[in-house]
Amino acid sequence: MSDQTVKGLQKPLGPGITPRGSAFRHVKPTDVQNPAYFHKVVDCQWACPAHTNVPEYIRLIAQGRYTDAYMLNRESNVFPAILGRTCDRPCEPACRRGRLDGKPVAICRLKRVAADLRGEIAHLLPQIPAKKNGKRIACIGAGPASLTVANDLLPLGYDVTIFEKQGKPGGLMRSNIPAFRLPEKVLTEEIDIIAAMGAKIQYNSPVASLAALLREGFDSIFVGSGAPRGKDLEIAGRHDADRIHIGIDWLESIAFGHVDSIGERVLIIGVGNTAMDCCRSSRRLGGRDIKVMARRPRPFFKASAWELDDAEEEGVEIVLNHAPKSFVVEDGRLKGMLFDRLEWDAGAKRSKTLDTIFLPADDVILAIGQENAFPWIERDLGIAFNEWNVPVVNETSMESTREGIFFGGDAAFGPKNIIWAVEHGHQAAISINNYCEGIPATERLPYGMNLVSQKMGLSEWSYHNDYNPAPRQKMKHVELVERFEQLNIEVELGFTAEQTAREVERCLNCDVETVFTAPRCIECDACVDVCPVQCLTITRNDEELDLRTRLSAPAINLDQDLFVSDALPHTRRIMAKDEDVCVHCGLCAERCPTAAWDMQKFELVIPYAGVKAGTCVPA
């Protein structure tokens, strides 16, 4: 995606294409040759760090083509079955459907449907060449980032060795995500695919010294070791008792079978997703009275809304506005904790202490964040660290300040999530391939696109363009009593066939784009009149902010672009389209007498490692 420089403003535009601000009398016609314009219309795909082609895989699910849906997912996000259960889902808050009826399409759950119902895929995976290219790559940590690097580089003939400190692969996906959310079988299956592609995973092999590893003569090294250190809470009494646990270490101990019980009264400090996993795990290991202690009011929680819901469904209490003050320890035994009760101002910026209260506890789990830790990277190797002791990493190439050494996942920029780790892996793989071929690591091919008309005949379109008013389908859970019997009973049952059939129809097919050809327009107003959500207007061109107020419905969502056409042939006015709530019903194209509007399926062509320039553009 090339940034444009706007004459007069002298600053590069973001991917939003259309110039904003008052420097222009008129809005320039939208550049639809830039794939970013149509890409941005596909809100879910735009929001996904790995740009998963969501609408297309949802259509494949609708057609019962689960294997194809899985493989399409795998192309961009590598772990559809894992992510279908655990993804942070940046796509869902972005989903256009949410702006229409308040509830986005259950994209993540549908991904799981594709993964659960897929057929044989071995023959669909990329072929691994028998003849290797002679380059040896080392990856540190067998988490999602390293596994993605291996996934992308193995088909190119690389020899990839992954060093894993534990006896099993998966990194955070195994150690921090409880089995009742992500069954081990699912995790193992998807990792095994990459192992079967030829990744050499060396277990129980912590890297103690990067300098030593460098001496082993690898052509390039990828650091995907995560953010393995849970933040501690240094307040009075912290080190006086043994039943105070660091959240991610405690979860890891459960995952590897070292911990199988906890006291009845448990306090969880922190209210992120790790805290949710900790409280729900406590519930299964003997906890009865479990409180998640939050410093701030609910709108400021880090945990995803659905994880909070799931925890509360299991009887966990979430206590707001309590700041930990000290641990209360008597005779070396933890008795509980003192908390300051806080009152916050409107923006939860400032607080004042109301009083201090005591809450009894048998165990306390600290889930207040994670940090990177690189004690094994010598500081004289040319890898620069910043003031927080985090390596300096190029955001495009994922390269450190030492050539040939790359970072990704939580190890790069601190804790994010699995889908970001996957995207880092893809980018690092491109950079490693560049580096090994003597191309600058930062060099990137532009995104490509395909646009194909979906018109099949009179009133016939190749996609299901009916707006289905069905509400978002609710995931069914295993009964409470049953789910607490064992630690690894998966709580979410997955969508039924009926739920899947309804949910796929909620998708608006945003990738079937409205494509306009100005010279054909006779300004009959048919499209403007028929549009159910008033997103079209034929009007005189103007400054964008003014134009936005003069449309059929005011375009108040500034995050969403306006499409502005070239001057129309009859009157030199313009066609303006507010992309905000277009339901992609295709009626504009249906009612257009001259085919000036057409519904064309947009496919983003994403360059991955090994893709040669020129193969990424439409044929």
């Binding site: 707006y467 009149d529 159910p532 008033q534 997103c535 009626l587 007498p593």
Partner: protein
């Protein structure tokens, strides 16, 4: 053409009128006219005008005859009354309906075939009687439903789709209406809702018969280069003689009336028409000057649009006939039909 149902989805910021209805509540079934038909734009303008004046759907009667235009009442205000009459017979049916129930708002939709050929006489008499109704002629110069023969409004020299020029003189509904005493005469263009919507709102408020001749290109049979009723030709030859704003009676007028170029006409119900721009010496209440102006422009080949003539001084059908204020349908049956003895008494008076 077969069609796809319009999705139930609406814009989140959809506005509501005084009745709490959205503009979508004034829609009808999906149009089955050709894609790009001018009539569909007129339908959209009607929907907007009715929504803006907060018309109660059940207080509206949609009247039509036969033709493409006459299908359009199905495409707006599903909750209204409607009558689809025989070809050209919409004006007498509307007259009868109005006579029986003066409480409803009547909107008659007709075309150049329905009104200027088979129904021409009926239309003239509805004009003469000043039936209180909005009367639209969706004028495209051809018989679209029978594959594009010239209609009575086709201009001399205008070419058919096959390339043959029309040689028969056209009937101009605006000149005809002015000549027989119409009290509200307008011409507009389907492609210009900014002009059409205020005219429709004024027509609804008008005291009597409101004629709006609307150029509405037939996208299938009369939108080619030799046509004088195509989108392009109309845009190239249109002169907006007047620009009118409609101000409903309950709305206070905040802006001071500009001294130049403004003519204000007070409607019978207290609403006001502001003519923002009119040509020099143009008086939209002076029938002779309007006629002279239109003749002069016509000889230059221009299509004059706008609200061209208004006369609020003439009473409608009911006022002229001193009909009761109450709609006849609400007069008790015993009073409307007092029985044979009363008939006997009446007949005795004439013996």
């Amino acid at each position: 053409m077969p069609s796809i149902a319009k999705p139930a989805a609406t814009h989140p910021s959809l506005q509501r009128n005084q009745l709490g209805l959205t503009i979508r509540d004034y829609e009808g079934s999906m149009s089955t006219l050709c894609a790009g038909c001018g009539h569909d734009s007129i339908t959209a303008a009607i929907v907007r005008a009715l929504w803006e004046v907060s018309m109660h759907p059940h207080m509206l009667a949609k009247m039509s005859g036969i033709g493409c235009s006459s299908k359009t009442p199905a495409y707006f205000v599903n909750g209204a009354h409607g009558f689809n009459s025989a070809h050209g017979r919409m004006p007498p049916i509307a007259t009868g309906a109005s006579a029986a129930n003066r409480g409803l708002t009547y909107i008659g939709i007709s075309g150049d075939g329905d009104s200027l050929s088979i129904g021409l006489g009926h239309m003239c008499h509805a004009i003469r009687r000043n039936v209180k109704m909005v009367y639209l002629i969706e004028n495209n110069g051809v018989y679209g439903l029978t594959k594009g023969q010239f209609s009575a409004s086709a201009d001399v020299g205008s070419k058919s789709k096959r390339g043959e020029p029309n040689q028969t003189l056209p009937i101009d509904p605006v000149m005809l209406a002015l000549s027989i005493g119409a009290t509200f005469v307008a011409r507009s263009f389907s492609g210009d809702k900014e002009q059409l919507v205020p005219i429709l709102k004024a027509a609804i408020a008008h005291r009597g018969f409101a004629l709006i001749d609307i150029i509405s290109p037939c996208v299938t049979f009369n939108d080619h280069s030799g046509s004088t009723k195509s989108y392009l030709y109309t845009r190239q030859h249109e002169i907006k003689a007047t620009e009118a704003d409609f101000v409903p009676p309950e709305k206070p007028i905040l802006a001071a009336i500009s001294p130049s170029g403004i003519t204000a006409v007070t409607m019978h119900d207290g609403s006001i028409l502001h003519f923002r721009s009119v040509p020099a010496n143009y008086d939209p209440t002076d029938r002779k000057r309007v006629t002279d102006y239109l003749l002069a422009q016509q000889s230059k080949g221009e299509i004059v649009t706008g609200l061209l003539f208004v006369d609020e001084s003439v009473g409608d059908l009911h006022e002229v006939n001193q009909a009761p204020d109450m709609p006849l349908v609400h007069v008790p049956h015993s009073k409307l039909c007092p029985g044979s003895s009363e008939l006997e008494r009446l007949q005795q008076e004439f013996r």
